[in-house]
Symmetry: C3
Subunit: 184 residues, 3 copies
């Protein structure tokens, strides 16, 4: 009698939790090297994270999703890539700007989670490119961020993405990158 | 004694899972017809899905949310609606472009889930309209995508939405549509 | 025997639900005053919520996330802040417009959840600013929404945010604000 009730227990709990357990597919740490080794091999030192001066925060967790605020291509607190791609700044520079935004996002995630090893996968990357009239290479600019994420996280760094050309960006930044990340 | 412990089991499991089970509101398969019948009635054949050439993917799953990358109005690998609404292309054509983006998103979802029957509901649709100066009909353009989703999924196709007018889009596309979908 | 099976039951249920329970971090109702008291102290009366005329809805729930459609600065069904910041409308007015969008979002959330007390925290705020050439103060405009949310919800109102300058917005609105919110 005792055994049957235990078996039933497992059955019911199993059925009940099938619907609610969060099983991320296509993720996992396929990368063998620790993230910090990868970063240093890429010559990347994550910067100190500045607290936003306004009434918002860099990162919010909800369940196991991490929402990262739109990051600008800042270094030492200053936007170092400004202007519109196709008029004020070259594509190659804009790609570096997108890469820097992604690095700043990683710094914000690390500050929140304690370690980038806690990232299960990059879910979504949103790239807003300050675009001059007629510039239609937003995907190439966005690749600056996407490639960095794949270099750092391997397969777990591959993400859904949107890239659009906006009219203006805060502080005349060349690009702004926001992210949604899944933690382990 | 056996009965009471079973009843207790159900009670506790019920209470425990109330907080964690994902109960989408206002969804459900209110549509009686299979999705593929609806699609063929609408004259829609889902295209082959091309793998993005860059370091991102069409679809990422996290829990039971599906994040679909920004889709362009492509057919056979080519963007077939280009230019800015209000200058280069008429509203009615832009609506067709938005509809095509949504169809491409459905193709990507089907490729990921195996069947569109696995879609529980469309959660959010993001519409970026390549807009000429003074064009303020972004909502009407977006309806091209929204109506298609409602035709295909019925009530489960009704979604939260944002629609904005951007300065430029990749490959001079007329519209880009990204989505968040909940699977069953 | 009865006791041991009950203890086992709790243990198993506890283990099972550890993975699936959604524990939002950094949230909680740190605010002592009820939300409706805060709103009235701020002189805010939440408006009636109009049903969108198109094939989308104001709010979609998925799990404990609430996705709010892009809100325009409408009052009594009319957009009352129009034009581009930096050309047609001053920064201070644009901030009021962003605040009004946020108020309309709260009205939509209240209509969905029954009460704003059901909000656990504001997760993410997306601000699209109708920007004239050379206007780069999108963050300041967005603060109009962010500050309101912090005033209403306290720490639970602090959110991840992105703010960009778009070329055009529906109905020539000055700003559009979308949100992701976590319910209790």
């Amino acid at each position: 009698m005792r055994n049957s009730s235990i078996i039933l227990l497992f059955l019911v709990v199993g059925l009940c939790c099938q619907g609610c357990e969060s099983v991320p597919s296509g993720c996992g740490s396929s990368s063998e090297k620790p993230i910090n080794v990868r970063l240093s091999e890429l010559g990347i030192t994550l910067p100190e994270v500045a607290t936003p001066v306004a009434a918002y925060v860099n990162v919010v967790e909800s369940g196991n999703l991490i929402f990262v605020s739109g990051q600008l291509p800042k270094r030492d607190g200053k936007v170092i890539f400004t202007g519109k791609v196709g008029r004020d700044i070259e594509l190659a520079e804009a790609q570096k700007a997108a890469r820097l935004c992604a690095i700043n996002a990683l710094a914000a995630i690390e500050a929140q989670l304690g370690s980038l090893e806690q990232v299960n996968r990059i879910v979504r990357v949103e790239v807003f490119v300050n675009s001059s009239t007629g510039f239609t290479g937003q995907s190439q600019v966005a690749n600056g961020a996407s490639l960095l994420l794949q270099q750092v996280f391997g397969d777990a760094g591959r993400h859904a993405r949107m890239a659009v050309g906006v009219a203006e960006l805060p502080l005349n930044a060349t690009v702004e990158v926001a992210m949604i990340v899944e933690k382990k």
